[in-house]
């Protein structure tokens, strides 16, 4: 398949009508809160654009992010993204292997120098030179630096690539870091989540292809269109929170009535993602709707925030020893100061009165 073809020509070859492209464009525009006129602009831009070269690198990860994108409930929509891009390298999805696969990456880098988008899922091992995660005889660290050098932009897909994720969790034996800590001279878009919502990945890539610029990002470099609100703010159980009606366990009357899961550790109030609105599996459900609190998987260090089932308003420390020690010290000093006063008084009483 020639890379000189436009996306529109390719879609025609594959029997995808302009109507389908318009519907998809309208869907993406809606997801990203763009104005209605943007749908037409997206469709026209996509049809006229040449396919964006994308190199996808997988580092310390579980392939859940790729699974999320490719095994989604409604793959025809998210599959469209593969018609928009030229996925030149993806270890899980590519047919070739070994030297031929590596050659494909190098060829794409040469032919699209300064124009390709680099997608990374997984965190980067840095300890001991990054030897804990290697591929084709090179550490992830080396491959990332080499591939990012002439990339147009980077997209960190999943919490591992965006914030370090589970490999970064204490005690972080491999010295895992997010992509943005290694590559500091290129724009890095973070699409966090464990895994991220497929529409967030597809929408962001489509935005890049269509407009040739980065979407609006939040302070953690996540697209605001998908990470602008907390789960809590959009949660259908929010009215129960406001009323103070909480499930006390996963099997009590409150849980059966669908009350708020704050008391069983839901992290929705401090988690920014679109789960409560886009949901999963084609809009069927999301974790809170299934009866489990939000884990906060799209936030940095979600694994080390004191436990998934510990409510947000509680202390995360284990202060028994510290407080016990403080109490003992307080008792000791209190007793000592009282004894000192008693001794002074006793000494004063012994002194001869004038």
């Amino acid at each position: 398949m020639s890379r000189r073809e436009t996306i529109g020509e390719l879609l025609v070859q594959r029997g995808i009508s302009r109507r389908a492209l318009l519907k998809y464009s309208a869907y993406l525009a809606t997801l990203m809160a763009l104005p209605p006129t943007a749908a037409r602009a997206i469709a026209d831009a996509l049809a006229a654009a040449r396919r964006q070269s994308v190199i996808w690198l997988s580092f310390q990860e579980c392939t859940g992010c790729t699974e999320s994108l490719t095994r989604s409930f409604n793959p025809t929509i998210e599959d469209m993204i593969f018609n928009l891009i030229s996925l030149d390298y993806h270890e899980t999805l590519q047919a070739v292997s070994g030297a031929a696969a590596e050659e494909a990456r190098l060829t794409s880098m040469r032919e699209n120098k300064g124009k390709y988008v680099l997608v990374v899922d997984g965190s980067v091992s840095t300890k001991d030179g990054g030897v804990y995660s290697t591929n084709a005889g090179k550490t992830n660290l080396q491959v990332l630096r080499e591939t990012a050098e002439h990339a147009l932009a980077l997209i960190s897909v999943g919490t591992c690539a965006a914030f370090g994720g589970i490999p970064h969790a204490h005690p972080n034996p491999t010295g895992a870091v997010p992509v943005s800590e290694i590559i500091t001279d290129k724009p890095v878009i973070n699409i966090s989540g464990c895994p991220p919502i497929p529409e967030a990945m597809a929408g962001t890539i489509a935005y890049l292809v269509t407009f040739g610029k980065l979407p609006d990002l939040d302070h953690l470099n996540r697209p605001k269109s998908f990470f602008g609100d907390t789960i809590h703010d959009r949660c259908y159980r929010r009215p129960f929170y406001d009323k103070g009606l909480f499930a006390k366990s996963f099997d009590d009357e409150g849980a059966r009535r669908g009350w708020c899961l704050y008391e069983v550790g839901c992290k929705g109030p401090v988690t920014y993602n679109a789960c409560a609105t886009l949901k999963w599996n084609g809009g069927v459900s999301f974790p809170i709707q299934s009866g489990h609190g939000c884990l906060g998987c799209s936030e940095p260090n979600f694994w080390d925030k004191g436990g998934f089932y510990r409510p947000l308003s509680t202390s995360t420390g284990s202060p028994a020893a510290v407080i016990g020690g403080a109490a003992a010290a307080g008792v000791g000093i209190g007793v000592a100061s009282a004894l000192l006063v008693r001794r002074r008084k006793s000494d004063a009483a012994k002194e001869p009165h004038s």
Partner: protein, 219 residues
Amino acid sequence: MNLLAFARGPALTVALAVFVFGVAWRLLSLLLLPWARDLAVARATAPPALVGAVKGFVRHLWPPRPLARGALIVTVNGYVFHLGLAVIVFGLAQHILFLRGLFGVHWPNLPSGVISAVAVVTLASLFVALGRRLTNPVLKLISTSNDYFSWFVTMLPVATGLIAVSHLWAPYETLLAVHMLSVSLLLVWLPFGKLMHAFLVFLTRAETGIVYSRRGAEI
């Protein structure tokens, strides 16, 4: 570590440790002081010390009749914010969860809307107390920075908690962190300032009750 993680973890742990240390220190250093023996002969009708202590405490829950009229507003206002603080601390589900994490005991919570309403009233009552302190010439004269700072660290958790529950002006994680840090400040200050009356009020009023009942006084 972000602000919320700091507030929920090290800040609260240190604040609780300082609080426990300070309260133990101050209480023991007071209780173990040499007690002056009351050499006066007790009235024949004087009740046992414990009864005198309880009666003294109960009697001081309201000002004596000759003084009640002049102290009505300040007394009622005092009750409003003290009871309000108690309802907020022990009635909000999130606070019960916090206390359950510390002590392992829990109880049913009040509706969040009720707590918010109580918090608004409490906050207003605290400002009335401050206003009186600033406008009453005598009270103003005897007020020190200790009084004003004690008022501030009491007001701050109420205000920040109300804002956090209402999700106003800033992301919830920031509001929750600021609220928790304000509680930490309160805990750190409590044993060393005038807020220690939370513990000492029982001792001082009981002691007054014992002394006066022994002498047959009804004040």
